[in-house]
């Protein structure tokens, strides 16, 4: 199981890093979401992996997993939502303001061929 989780963290990080290095805002946002998954899993894994021992106090329970990383990750998940919402709106506003969703100051999005599943298009 440890190998699977470690590999998952690796895949998520890889996808996240690759996407945040793109030139457009949307892949960058998705990239940060992937990095959030990776980081949350990583933090969670710092408490080590345990099966079937939820941190719910019960006299009959044989033991508990480490609750502290869980508490930290729980708030991290919610905060990453807040952060995602913020950068989504930032990207949205930037796009509406400039007509471009480029992050490297390059020329704006080239108009796409008609028929692409894109909002707008010639009236």
């Amino acid at each position: 199981m440890e190998i699977l989780i470690a590999a998952s963290i690796g895949f998520l990080t890889m996808a996240g890093v690759y996407l945040v290095l793109r030139r457009h805002s949307y892949p960058m946002i998705v990239g940060t979401a992937f990095l959030s998954y990776a980081v949350n899993l990583f933090l969670f894994a710092m408490g080590r992996l345990t099966l079937d021992r939820p941190p719910l106090v019960d006299p009959a329970a044989p033991g508990y997993t480490d609750p502290l990383p869980q508490a930290l990750v729980l708030t991290a998940i919610v905060i990453s939502f807040g952060m995602t919402a913020l950068i989504v709106v930032l990207a949205l506003r930037g796009f509406l303001e400039t007509g471009s969703d480029r992050l490297d100051g390059g020329p704006p999005h080239e108009p796409e061929a008609p028929g692409a599943d894109r909002a707008g298009g010639p009236a």
Binding site: A15, L51, A71, V88
Partner: protein, 950 residues
């Protein structure tokens, strides 16, 4: 603490003049003078002890870890300087009242002046060298404000900037020097450092310390080659020139040299650097002063020259020279301030400061002329005036000094400089007040007494000390010299008018006669000077500044490319490199913790996650598909949490997943639907390499940690205390609302801020360029039915059910998986679905609450719960709980942590609803625009087809 008041009264008193200005200029002047008088009174109260040879100390620790303290000491040297600063300050305030035009904001001017006064007295009474540096920089700042007083004039702005760059930069050198000095001496307290001169001089840091401290002192005291800022500082109003740039601030450098004289002097390096710099400055300043035409420029360069004289004397390193220096500081402050104020009066009355257009003013303004002529004579060193006595002491000290085995060099240089100073003083006196009347200025007359009285007050000591130096100045100079040289013990000082016929007297006479003779051939000299030419310091300085700015621009231009991917690539590549270096330089042994078994479902989930991660890299150009894949990943992560004993995390992750997907869908509705694939194989390869390395690194790191056992952590305590201490069995929830409640409190505030920023960004998106672009966007043809009936019905039916589930999850949260975060998300999803299904308008009309209020209420509730603990004398956020027997429901446990959790719940609902609803509102505009346009298009189409038929 009384001692600190000498500096603090003017500093705090600086607040008063702008207020007092409402009651008029006179009241304002009186208040300002009153502040200075109060500081002076504190000084006088401490003076008797100092004159007895004691050192008065006061203060307290500030940041002891840094060696920074708020300590003051007053000894002879401090008393001497503080007396000068406050005494002359008082005269300047009276003078400035008449000098400033009626329309000028005198309150602000006096505020700056007091700010300077406090900073300057702070320098001279600081016991801590770091505190001294703070005051030092404060004088540079207040000097900047005062030089740029007439900010409408470019000379004022440029002069102020130049002075700030030179003296402020010098202040940085000084700070570095003081830090090293403190290191070498083992203390930052002056009283300790002064006793450890031997240690400092023997330290390997001595030369750096010396050069850095001298850098600070020389820039402040306008020593060659940093002298050029002082003449440009003359753009300041004349009271400022008289006060800061001749009598006090420029002497801060000399003060520092005197203050650290016991520590730093006595070495070959000190002698060579300080006395040579002083001598050169003295000659260069006097030479330039001789040919300037602006009265204030003449006085400025003469000040440079006189400061050079003082520096040179301190550089000699003998007690006699130091006494001469201190005595000359006093004398120079009196006659030079008088001269400056006189020049200000001339400027005020005739409207010009050009010596070529002035002359014969003695008949028009006899009082001013008499006072200025006496002061100028003192500057020239005419007997029976104070300048003569100290200058002769200087010449005597110079006569005894051998420089690099050349016994004649310093005496000749000193005589030559004196000769030049006689010449420029004579030119000043003759050119302005005597001689022929050149400019027809019949209106020029003596100013009101309030303006010349301060000059007169300064001219009195010029004459009195000149006649009876030992009687009037002897004790003060003795105590100042005592604390400079011999750490408190008074040294015998003999200030005499007549020492008999000796070399110094001969040098003095040579200077007087030669100076007058030089003036006779002035015109020829001027031509000579014009032929020699000299580099224009200001042009050089400006070129230096321009080059610095260009270099800064080039650096910024290269680094600041406005390309986020490039920044991120640099950051990530660096992180990967650091991690790799760390891994390669360490050792690795496999962990010993037993691995958990893997079942088929886990394997399938992993494969799905891995496949989705890889796929998203490949197909990220198709944004909707990317979103779907992201959802898959989120789902798999939730499952992983569920499997690995973290039900709370699984619940949170899955609900957040839903909310995030809605958010992204809303945004995608407005953003382009595809990302153009990036060309550049090399770039993609590079990014893939960084990404691959990062993924490999994190995976390896996570694996390495997970295969090792965990030492005992605080978690055991949390588990043990959850029930007895926190009143709940869900340890994660108890941790969130109790053990680490303060963290959670911070988190919900962050959420709140994020929501408010979102509102701010979208609120203004409905205007301007953003709004115009919104109007051009069309609804996607794929969304044929905006509000599908099925969706509308289902969401409305689900709403009460979802709310109930939310409340249930909230209530059980303390003991079972759930809690405020999850409950808040569930409720928010139910509410947001109404917006999506039925439209913003419909939902907004039926909303009975304001999401802003929810946000505020949430944070307030959580905060108030925490504060409630304080009422019971417990720390912030301590929770209390108890069991209550409710009818029908039975035993119910209620904890204050529930209230806190309710705050969390409200904030989460508020954040999500507020941000998503705002995006929905923006979409509504597109929707309406599309509807309006399609009806117009239909109308036009109908018209066209009708025309075709016809």
């Amino acid at each position: 603490m009384q001692l600190a008041l000498i500096a603090l009264v003017p500093l705090l008193g600086a607040l008063l003049p702008p207020l007092a200005m409402r009651a008029g200029r006179n009241v304002c002047t009186v208040v300002t003078a009153g502040v200075t008088l109060a500081a002076l009174a504190v000084l006088v109260a401490a003076a008797p002890a100092v004159l007895r040879g004691e050192t008065v100390r006061a203060g307290t620790d500030w940041v002891p870890q840094l060696g920074l303290s708020f300590r003051f000491m007053l000894d002879g040297l401090g008393l001497f300087f503080a007396g000068l600063i406050l005494g002359i300050g008082l005269l300047i305030i009276v003078y400035a009242r008449s000098y400033l035009a009626r329309s000028e904001p005198a309150g602000r001017f006096f505020a700056y002046l007091l700010l300077f006064q406090g900073a300057m007295t702070g320098i001279v009474i600081s016991d801590n060298v770091l505190l001294l540096v703070v005051f030092w920089e404060l004088t540079s700042l207040s000097s900047f404000l005062l030089i740029g007083w007439w900010s409408q004039a470019p000379e004022g702005r440029q002069g102020a900037r130049m002075a700030l760059i030179v003296t402020g930069g010098g202040g940085l050198l000084l700070m570095a020097g003081m830090l090293l000095l403190g290191q070498a001496a083992g203390s930052y307290e002056l009283s300790v450092i002064l006793t450890r001169g031997d240690i400092v001089r023997a330290s390997p840091l001595y030369i750096p310390i010396l050069l850095l401290v001298l850098g600070g002192a020389f820039t402040k005291s306008a020593q060659f080659p940093f002298h050029f800022w002082l003449p440009h500082a003359m753009a300041a109003p004349t009271p400022v020139s008289a006060y800061l740039h001749s009598a006090t601030m420029v002497k801060a450098g000399v003060f520092l040299l005197a203050r650290l004289w016991p520590v730093l002097s006595g070495t070959e390096a000190w002698f060579v650097v300080v006395s040579t710099t002083g001598l050169v400055t003295m000659l260069v300043g006097a030479w330039i002063a001789l040919f300037k035409t602006d009265l204030k420029a003449i006085l400025a360069y003469s000040t440079v020259s006189q400061l050079g004289l003082m520096t040179m004397l301190l550089g000699f390193g003998t007690p006699e020279a130091t006494v001469a220096c201190l005595f000359h500081i006093l004398n120079h402050a009196t006659f030079k301030a008088a001269l400056f104020m006189g020049a200000g009066i001339v400027d005020h009355e005739t409207g010009t400061r050009d010596i070529r257009r002035l002359g014969g003013l003695v008949r028009l303004m006899p009082v001013t002329a008499a006072l200025s002529l006496v002061a100028a004579a003192a500057m020239a060193g005419v007997p029976l005036l104070n300048g003569f006595v100290s200058k002769e002491m200087m010449l005597a000290a110079a006569y005894d000094t051998h420089w690099a085995g050349l016994p004649w060099l310093v005496p000749v240089g000193a005589t030559l400089a004196s000769l030049l100073s006689v010449a420029y003083a004579a030119r000043y006196g003759f050119g302005v007040f005597l001689g022929r009347r050149r400019q027809p200025a019949p209106a020029a007359h003596d100013p009101p007494a309030a303006m010349w009285a301060p000059v007169a007050v300064l001219v009195v000591p010029v004459i009195a000390i000149g006649v009876a130096p030992q009687l009037l100045a002897g004790p003060l100079v003795a105590v100042a010299a005592g604390s400079t040289i011999a750490a408190g013990s008074a040294i015998p000082v003999d200030l005499a008018l007549w020492h008999g016929v000796n070399p110094a007297l001969l040098m003095s006479v040579t200077a007087l006669v030669g100076g007058v003779a030089l003036l006779a051939i002035w015109a020829g000299l001027d031509r000579l000077r014009a032929r020699i030419g000299a580099p224009d310091a200001k042009a050089l300085f400006d070129r230096g500044i321009d080059a610095t700015v260009a270099a800064a621009r080039a650096t910024i231009g290269a680094l600041h490319t406005e390309s986020l991917p490039r920044y991120l690539a640099v950051i990530l590549a660096t992180t990967v490199a650091v991690g790799t270096a760390g891994f390669l330089s360490g050792t690795y042994a496999p962990g010993t913790r037993a691995l958990l078994p893997v079942g088929p479902p886990s394997l399938v989930a992993f494969l799905a996650l891995a496949a989705a991660s890889l796929a998203v890299v490949v197909v990220h150009g198709r944004r909707l598909l990317t979103l779907v894949l992201t959802g898959v990943v989120g789902l798999m992560v939730s499952l992983a949490f569920l499997k690995l004993s973290a039900p709370d995390l699984a619940l949170t992750q899955i609900t957040v997943e839903v909310v995030t997907t809605i958010l992204m869908l809303l945004a995608l509705n407005l953003l382009p639907k595809r990302t153009p694939l990036e060309t550049g194989r090399l770039r993609r390869l590079r990014d893939a390499a960084i990404a691959g390395a990062a993924g490999l690194g994190t995976a390896g790191l996570a694996y390495a940690v997970m295969t090792r056992d965990l030492a005992t952590t605080i978690s055991d305590f949390h588990i043990a205390q959850a029930k007895p201490g926190g009143g709940g069995t869900n340890v994660v929830n108890v941790t969130l609302v109790d053990f680490r409640g303060f963290d959670t409190f911070g988190e919900i505030i962050v959420l709140c801020i994020a929501a408010l920023v979102i509102v701010a960004m979208l609120e203004t998106a409905l205007r301007g360029a953003a709004a115009r672009r919104l109007d051009q966007l069309r609804r996607s043809p794929l969304a044929a039915d905006v509000h599908p009936l099925v969706l509308v019905v289902v969401t409305r039916l689900l709403l009460p059910l979802a709310l109930t589930v939310g409340v249930y999850i909230f209530l059980r949260g303390h003991n079972q998986p759930g809690g405020g975060f999850v409950a808040g998300l569930v409720v928010a999803i139910a509410l947001i679905m109404q917006y999506i299904a039925s439209g913003y308008g419909w939902a907004a009309d039926r909303r009975r609450f304001d999401a802003h209020v929810l946000l505020g209420a949430g944070v307030l509730l959580a905060g108030a719960t925490g504060l409630g603990a304080l009422l019971f004398g417990r720390p912030f956020l301590t929770s209390a709980f108890g069991h209550f027997d409710l009818p029908l429901v039975g035993d119910v446990e209620l904890a204050t942590a529930m209230l806190f959790d309710a705050g969390v719940f409200l904030t989460v609902v508020g954040t999500v609803v507020l941000s998503l609803a705002r995006i929905a509102r923006v979409e509504q505009r597109v929707e309406r625009g599309t509807a309006a346009r399609s009806s117009t298009a239909a109308h036009n189409g109908a018209a066209r087809s009708g025309a075709g038929e016809a």
